[in-house]
């Protein structure tokens, strides 16, 4: 190889270095957009709350005439009803009904052992996102319908 040949190799090497730099940049930009984090926890808790309070197969109070959407039957609030109402492996939730003064009337959940352990310390657990949402609802306590709150607390494995 002569001097010109060595220079050619060096020149090509420098060009290749910059091609690699630009390629890595394009790859990083594409990777960032393709792997954008999509967190649907807030939407899921909204839809879950509606399902819980509107569906007869969940917590909605039903009498001989009709299903009272937006009215929770306290007698239905238990583990079995919640599990049959909505189950998702990565998502667990706690449903608490309180009266208008904030006194807890009844609470139930469908949490597994890991979710139950992580829920109180959710902020410090990597990969989990927890949200608590409170809504004004009516509830049926066996005698009459009253106004209170339903609080749905969700623990979601987001990866």
């Amino acid at each position: 190889m002569n001097k010109k040949g060595i220079f050619d190799i060096l020149e090509i090497g420098i060009y290749m270095f910059f091609v690699i730099v630009v390629s890595v940049f394009i790859f990083l930009a594409a990777f960032k957009y393709l792997n954008e984090k999509i967190d649907t926890t807030n939407l899921e808790i909204s839809l879950l709350t509606k399902r819980l309070t509107y569906s007869d197969s969940c917590l909605a109070y039903k009498d001989s005439a009709r299903v009272h959407q937006g009215t929770i039957d306290l007698a239905k609030l238990n583990f079995n009803t919640l599990t049959n109402c909505f189950s998702k492996e990565s998502l667990g939730y706690v449903v608490t009904v309180t009266d208008i003064a904030g006194n807890v009337l009844k609470s139930a959940s469908n949490l597994n052992a890991r979710q139950e352990a992580y829920l109180p310390i959710c902020k410090n657990v990597k990969g989990y996102h927890c949200i608590k949402k409170k809504n004004l609802v009516q509830y049926y306590d066996g005698n009459e319908t009253k106004t209170g709150f339903v609080t749905v607390e969700v623990i979601n494995l987001v990866g």
Binding site: K4, F25, K32, I38, T40, G70, K134, Q138
Partner: protein, 191 residues
């Protein structure tokens, strides 16, 4: 510019070219990684899109302390009564104010994960600019307006219901959140 001994022009165009390349990478790096120009702000549909009139229905179906024939009247029944007898207007106002204070409110300035639903007694001083407003109209005229509106504030989560009155007319009842400087995520959270 090539000759037998190599490219003499290489040093002359190499450095400007490298400088131009670095500037281009820095410019597009800022656009893509800092400004995030291509990022969609609405990747996930907002909970607000699924909101209905459930809050207003619950308010209207709530029982009050006002009794008639030994039965506690609901808010909607009290509206009908107050439209005929103005003496009941004050009681209606206090009952509705009590319920509006109980509705979930926004703590502006906190992150979505840190938002705690406000209770009137303990956190009123931390609530910035989000108030629930309830308006009642009868015969297209304003009958009752409850709640504080803020200047330069926007209205969100509007819910509208028509309820029958005892005189055969309809009362238009509107509930909405009046909020200044509220973010979409905050509105979503209480939708």
């Amino acid at each position: 510019m090539l000759d037998k001994k190599g490219d003499f022009g290489f040093p002359f165009y190499f450095f400007p070219a490298v400088t131009l390349l670095v500037l281009t990478l820095v410019f597009f790096g800022i656009i893509f990684f800092v400004v995030e120009i291509g990022k969609s702000p609405n990747l996930v549909i907002r909970s607000e899109s699924y909101q209905d009139s459930s809050k207003l229905i619950t308010v209207l179906n709530s029982h009050t302390k006002v009794q008639q024939s030994g039965v506690n009247l609901t808010i909607s029944e009290l509206i009908s009564l107050a439209s005929e007898d103005q003496n009941y207007k004050d009681e209606l106002t206090s009952e509705i104010k009590f319920l509006l204070d109980k509705l979930p409110r926004i703590q502006v300035g906190e992150t979505l994960a840190d938002v705690i639903i406000a209770t009137p007694a303990s956190t009123r001083e931390t609530i910035k600019e989000g108030h629930w407003i309830l308006e009642i109209k009868t015969n297209n005229e304003s009958f009752l307006n409850i709640g504080e509106t803020q200047t330069l504030a926007n209205n969100y989560l509007e819910q509208l219901i028509f309820i029958p009155l005892s005189d055969g007319n309809l009362a238009e009842v509107k509930l909405y959140l009046n909020c200044f400087a509220c973010k979409a995520e905050d509105i979503d959270f209480i939708a």
